[in-house]
């Protein structure tokens, strides 16, 4: 506990300094107040947003979308990754296409999604899916191809074949890179979702951000940005980061 506090002391002090700097810049009145709110303004907007539940709903709706989009991506990406790694024909046909599509920023799928699904949830989830599934596929494929053949042979000699080989060797063997892939996938999904939500009318954090702009309410813009950052950090560092770190320690990586 004490160690943790000491470890956190540096970044926390640094953040405090940044806020102080922010406050000083605000006092210097270089920019007009409506373009550059004070830390206190942003804090009050945050408190208000949570008190009147708009932020809470925004968060919940955005999280629901990302869970669905990311969840479906995990299933499709993992299966596709394994298939491409294991079937040479797919490696020669599907793989190059996936590598090509992956270069397309996910928000470019939005017009297509709007035409296919209309202005609704499905369109935005589709954008999240397209932003995530390809990178997951590529990382699972890479992880499977990178399993040392000798480990697979060792498994075979100990009687693992067919499905057992997947269950007891291939899947555990890719776990560290899989988790890294999931972590990246999550951040792709989060970015795709935010850009999607900003571009078309839909409740959610992205829209709250756009509202701030439309109302010329810089404090709201900054408050929502803070919420988006905090959620990103929670998932990236605290959830995926922690699991990944524990696993790597266990493996001695």
């Amino acid at each position: 506990m004490k160690n943790k506090l000491i470890r956190l002391a540096k970044p926390l002090t640094f953040i405090a300094c940044l806020i102080l700097l922010w406050q000083i810049l605000y006092w210097l009145k270089i920019w007009p107040k409506w373009l550059f709110p004070s830390p206190a303004d942003v804090w009050l907007t945050l408190v208000k947003g949570f008190a009147n539940h708009t932020f809470i709903w925004g968060i919940l709706i955005s999280l629901k979308r990302i869970f669905i989009g990311f969840g479906v991506s995990i299933i499709i990406g993992t299966l596709l990754g394994f298939l491409i790694a294991k079937i040479k024909l797919l490696r020669e046909t599907v793989d190059p296409i996936i590598l090509g599509l992956q270069t397309l920023p996910s928000i470019c799928w939005l017009p297509l999604a709007l035409l296919w699904f209309g202005l609704n949830e499905k369109a935005i989830i589709f954008v999240v899916l397209m932003g995530t599934v390809l990178s997951l596929t590529i990382s699972v494929k890479g992880a499977v191809l990178n399993i040392p053949p000798i480990l697979i042979n060792a498994g075979k000699m100990l009687g693992a074949d067919g499905l057992n080989l997947y269950r007891y060797i291939l899947i555990p063997a890719i776990l560290p890179s899989y988790l890294t892939g999931l972590k990246h996938g999550w951040s792709f999904a989060w970015r795709s979702l935010m850009s999607g939500e900003m571009l078309f009318i839909s409740v959610g954090l992205g829209q709250l951000l756009m509202f701030g702009r439309e109302l010329n309410d810089m404090a709201q813009v900054m408050a929502v940005m803070l919420v988006i950052i905090v959620i990103g950090v929670i998932f990236d560092q605290l959830i995926f980061g922690k699991i990944e770190k524990n696993l790597r320690a266990k493996w001695g990586l």
Partner: protein, 255 residues
């Protein structure tokens, strides 16, 4: 369990940068009796690992056949412990796949932990072990499935002399009371003489059996024993010309 190898040939297709095919094994014939300990020595790259892989069914031979009934165990040249499993789960891996009961698995695992002097490391992960301990776990993991034939590919090559000698002793004891058929590949001629009933010398690539030495010394044998030294010298003499051959070929390859 008897093992018969008839006329095995193996060539690897050349890689795509215009290399010609590599002939790894040529007309290998070998009969190993039940309970026999056979050692293979030969220059690097002569096809010893390839032969074991073919016996194990991990590589297909280009021609020839293998006759063997019974369960095979394989200890590989490279470390192959599963990094995601604790020592005890590595040892119990094969039994788990066979869906043995938890109690049964624990019993067998404990027995082999004891046998390989690893009881204190039961709960450790492979990366927490020294090289010698890892190889002992690998040995225990292979033995836990009670294989009839044990294929060992330079299992102790990466270890220091002291650890190695200790493992020779352990392996000899295990072999003497379990009476397994063993095929043991090594670069170390003395190691071969200490462990084997027979030592087979391979030629440079393509590997063929060049000469066979029967070792009729009483067990357990000591690596510093004068008789062991004598036989080792004779085998080394035989090997020297082949190693020179292999080196020549490598130099040629580099150009």
């Amino acid at each position: 369990m008897k093992l018969q190898i008839n006329n095995i040939n193996k060539s690897f297709a050349g890689s795509n940068n215009g290399q010609s095919a590599v002939e790894a094994l040529k007309n290998v014939n070998l009969t190993v009796a039940e309970g026999e300990f056979v050692c293979l020595v030969g220059p690097s790259g002569c096809g010893k690992s390839t032969l074991l892989n073919i016996i194990a069914g991990l590589t297909a031979a280009s021609s020839g056949q293998i006759d063997c009934s019974g369960r095979l165990g394989f200890m590989f040249q490279e470390p192959t412990l599963f990094p995601w499993l604790k020592v005890k789960d590595n040892i119990g891996f094969g039994l788990k796949i066979l869906k043995r009961s938890k109690e049964k698995i624990n019993e067998v695992v404990d027995y082999f932990l004891e046998l390989t002097h690893l009881s204190n490391f039961k709960e450790a992960y492979p990366h927490e072990l020294s090289g010698g301990m890892k190889q002992r776990v690998a040995l225990a993991r292979t033995l836990a499935l009670k294989p009839d034939i044990l294929l060992m590919d330079e299992p102790f090559a990466a270890l220091d002399a002291q650890t190695r000698e200790m493992l020779y002793k352990e392996l000899q004891e295990i072999w003497q009371f379990s009476k397994k058929t063993v095929i043991f590949v090594t670069h170390n001629v003395r190691e071969a003489v200490v462990l084997g009933d027979r030592v087979l010398v391979f030629t440079a690539r393509p590997g063929q059996i060049k000469k066979e030495f029967k070792i009729n010394l009483p067990r357990p044998r000591d690596i510093n024993d004068i008789e062991v030294t004598k036989i080792s010298n004779a085998i080394n003499q035989e090997l020297k010309t082949e190693v020179a051959e292999a080196v020549k070929e490598l130099e040629h390859y580099e150009k």
